[in-house]
Symmetry: C2
Subunit: 163 residues, 2 copies
């Protein structure tokens, strides 16, 4: 599809993040299996539930716009996940592997924060108020998921949680 207008760009970026969210629904359970800390496992599983809701919300945005939900291969997310896979496969020590899993998950969260931030901005410019609300809800959840991961990465917070 040739991108000529901001609406075309919005549409293409929606397909990109739709691919990303659908791929994450498949990837997060593997990440939870590799995590050693029960808190990290629980956080990843909770975010899987949210991610499934993000897929549905994106389908609503496609529907509101009268578009078919189509996923477009997102090389950026594939690169992030390949990097995560490598690092998880090669670390034997459980605490170090958990630190690596949190770090990789945060690169994914930040990719999504950048993408949803952009989509909310463009939807506003294009006067798509329904899309703004749906995308903003997901953006807020991605921010919260990133914050939760930072807390899990902080040893002081972990010590307090374990006390």
């Amino acid at each position: 599809m040739a991108v000529k207008t901001l609406e075309d760009l919005f549409h293409e970026t929606l397909k990109d993040i739709y691919y990303a969210e659908k791929k994450l629904v498949k990837t997060l359970p593997k990440m939870a299996t590799k995590a050693a800390s029960p808190e990290l496992k629980a956080a990843i599983k909770a975010h899987l539930g949210e991610t499934e809701a993000h897929v549905e919300r994106l389908e609503k945005v496609f529907s509101v716009m009268g578009w078919k939900p189509v996923a477009k291969k997102c090389e950026a997310l594939d690169g992030l996940l390949r990097e995560a896979d490598e690092v998880m496969a090669e670390i034997e020590d459980a605490n170090t592997r958990d630190a690596a899993i949190i770090a990789s998950a945060q690169t994914v969260e930040h990719y999504e924060i950048a993408r949803y931030g952009t989509l909310v901005c463009w939807a506003g410019e294009l006067d798509m108020s329904d899309a703004v609300s749906l995308l903003q809800m997901t953006l807020d959840e991605e921010h919260a998921a990133d914050k939760k991961l930072s807390q899990l990465a902080d040893p002081e917070v972990n010590q307090k949680a374990a006390a």
Copy 2:
């Protein structure tokens, strides 16, 4: 290199972001050439100067730790930049291309925010106070660069800037 400890993981992640920053020094001038808006061109060029300083700061971190500065291919950043290249090449309309350039640049900023956030956290846990200061300086600049891009993407801000 086998990753066994948090220090190994810090070292490997440092090589990853070193590759990313060095690649950005080569990529940002191309991005500035493709940008139409003078404000966007200026912002990218200003960030190029900062990025050169980030490379030097990373070299200081390697040096403080007694390590050689080595770059390790970062598939995630390569994916982000391939996506940026594609989108820039295929959009003819200048305003739409600028919107796409800002969006791509923000995915790169967020990758760096995630990576430096993690490195600052690990450097703190490992009691590397010099590394914490150096990495925090860059993290603050990446946050500021992302905010600047959001302002450039906001048409109201642009209208005010043009008034």
